[in-house]
Symmetry: C2
Subunit: 331 residues, 2 copies
Amino acid sequence: MKKLINEVDNIVDEMLDGMVAAYPQYIRRLDGLDVVVRAGGSKGKVALVSGGGSGHEPAHGGYVGKGMLDGAIAGAVFTSPTPDQVYEAIKAADGGKGVLLVIKNYTGDVMNFEMAADMARDEGIEVDQVITADDVAVENSTWTTGRRGIAGTIFVHKIAGACAEAGGSLADVKRVAEKVIANVRSMGMAVDACTVPAAGKPSFDLAEDEIEIGIGIHGEPGVNREKIGTVNEISDKLLDKIFAEGIYNSGDEVAVMVNGMGGTPLMELFVANKHIKEVLDSKGIKVAKTLVGNYMTSLDMEGFSITLLKVDDELKKLLAAPADTPAFVQA
Amino acid sequence: MKKLINEVDNIVDEMLDGMVAAYPQYIRRLDGLDVVVRAGGSKGKVALVSGGGSGHEPAHGGYVGKGMLDGAIAGAVFTSPTPDQVYEAIKAADGGKGVLLVIKNYTGDVMNFEMAADMARDEGIEVDQVITADDVAVENSTWTTGRRGIAGTIFVHKIAGACAEAGGSLADVKRVAEKVIANVRSMGMAVDACTVPAAGKPSFDLAEDEIEIGIGIHGEPGVNREKIGTVNEISDKLLDKIFAEGIYNSGDEVAVMVNGMGGTPLMELFVANKHIKEVLDSKGIKVAKTLVGNYMTSLDMEGFSITLLKVDDELKKLLAAPADTPAFVQA
């Protein structure tokens, strides 16, 4: 394993310090905790708090800022944050109007965020939650009951965040978050596995001509392993599974995310996007907005995921609203 | 070689189509050419045109938009664009106030951009140029006489672009570009080489415990190959060479870029930034702005570069000005 790190045990701690050192205008770290919150606080608005295991950067700390999140908790690599850390994040992010937790559907995350929510409610903080489960690859998996939450979560941050920024109530913010969740689906693949620093070796092995379809964001097993084809063929497989949901139909409008897993050249994501756009055009589905880049990664994994979000006028407007965070800025 | 592509020969063409398909609000492609220009044109302002071989995405097409570039030419992977393509970019980007070419210092790039400039001048277009050569690693290299132009080039795009957007004359824009070039230095390293699609294998081999210091953005040889150390030790080596330039001293203010080479997890770049910030603090050098991410890549190369730009009030103001492009947005 060759990693640009110091001590394996200090990665998350140093990463958070390095993130805050880069973006003090946006975020500050809570003393002694693996939590970042908005530098200027969140007074007078509904607060959005998300998080999960580390290794998915820029998720989630990179999305803390105006128009998106108010707080983010970073667990150890690919490990759920503990309830006490989530609890501290809720307390620090709360601006007096309630807190919405955006939880990716992994058993540990859901359990720990829910315990933290209970602790915060005991202190009189109004807390509600949504659970993202956008990955259509598998119905249950290593670390989940039900589908996994992956890159589609970023659309929840953006859209619910815009609603909160515009003064929406906790119920409003939860409603649009649920609307995104109902209309967003993703699926990913890997050309090569990632290497968790503490493990020191790739989480699985693929032959020189093999890929894994339906991979999650932790190197959990996908749907099937097969010979590599063209990126058009691969994209078709991912899209077919997403279209099979029956959500995206002719006349609809969608936002698209072509998300790199961390080790994938941007050039290849753009090549993929050309075909994705053509497929959507051929189906009479209009593209309202496209994001191409590393939004929800899996350390150094090579591969990508496709996310589609069906948008109506309300979601389109919230998606287009300004945002100003370390990893996502929109004028 | 496992790449997410279709045909090796079509990569640049499909990549540009995929980029325009993602960002039609920012860029359009010139018919039959590997050139993107601003969707809304550049009428009434000085135009900035840059480019070079492909494989460095988001450079340079990702920086075409308000406050940065007006046109970008994409050569074949790691290959200089031809003079006729550069000429067409100049013609299309010209808004009647002249064109500044931002050329990275590689022999082929300089020659072809200069030939194109001559062709454009013959048509009555005012064209001037600057050459970036920020890489302190080597004095001459495989493809250069003099130092190589690498990630520091992005600061030229940003700052000269802001000057042009504010109505600066061609002489003004050239002057601030030259000021950036005089004050910006970079150095990079690789943990693993990149694989050029047409070659099909890594451009060099590193042992399981080896890194290459002073690498460029094409897999050209660096300064020396050595055993991997901690990222703090590696960062110190890069910074020492940059500080040896004598430009960055106690009391100065700098902008910092911690640039990923394409295959490097963002987590590791943040870990590096923690130490870089501490070193700058210890030297009494103030950080005005930090960028951490994939700004000037080398396909799937794993590694990073550090760039420092000394800023005065003028450069700080231009650096802080709004920008709105596919890959760099600042509110």
